[in-house]
Amino acid sequence: MIKVLVQVEDFDAGAEVAQLRSTASGAIVQFVGVMRDNNQGDTVASMHLEHYPGMTESSIERILVEASERWSLLGCTVIHRVGTVLPGEQIVLVAVSAAHRHAAFQACEFVMDYLKTQAPFWKKEQLHNGESRWVDARESDDRAAARW
């Protein structure tokens, strides 16, 4: 019921949601993170995502196990891309199925907040003007994760 993929390739969110559907799953919530072409007032041409192979996967699995302990879930899928991502492309999928919507909504947000602050991924932006820069961690993400 827990599925974690870290991959260079794009993913089919619809197919993943279909896999989570069953006669017991009254609610499926999916979040797709998409790359924006603008950050801090600058036009971003592309982004490179680095990760820590092994630890990234195990830390996401731990987050999903914790979500399963907090809410009654039927399934949870996380797919996170690494490598080069272009504006408009999908970066991350979090999809959660449960009997009822409350658990599915909450668990999806919990997993996303924890992903942002605990899973070892790092983003580097290539700006339109030719410069590149590492994205700084945001305090607002820490606050979002702390509320759980």
Partner: protein, 80 residues
């Protein structure tokens, strides 16, 4: 020997992704030892928000490092 890994901005700034050294002690003392390499390393390992993992589990300054361990240092994460 232990294996030490560096990721993201830290890796770029140090100009190396990994090294193998003889070491046993705490994470804090390992950081002190790495800081002695030169000013750049000293500056990087003085950063308070630098994170550490031992064998792919989050570790703290006082965590012990033993023979054969994989120790990773990296900046705050920015995934999602």
């Amino acid at each position: 020997m232990i294996k030490v890994l560096f990721f993201a901005k830290l890796r770029e700034t140090l100009g190396t992704s990994d090294l193998e050294i003889d070491y046993a002690g705490t994470v804090a003392d390992l950081k002190a030892q790495l800081s002695m390499r030169n000013d750049c390393w000293a500056e990087q390992f003085a950063q308070e928000n630098l994170l550490c993992a031992i064998n792919q589990q989050v570790a703290a300054d006082e965590s012990p490092v033993s023979e054969g361990d994989e120790v990773a240092f990296f900046p705050p994460v920015t995934g999602g």
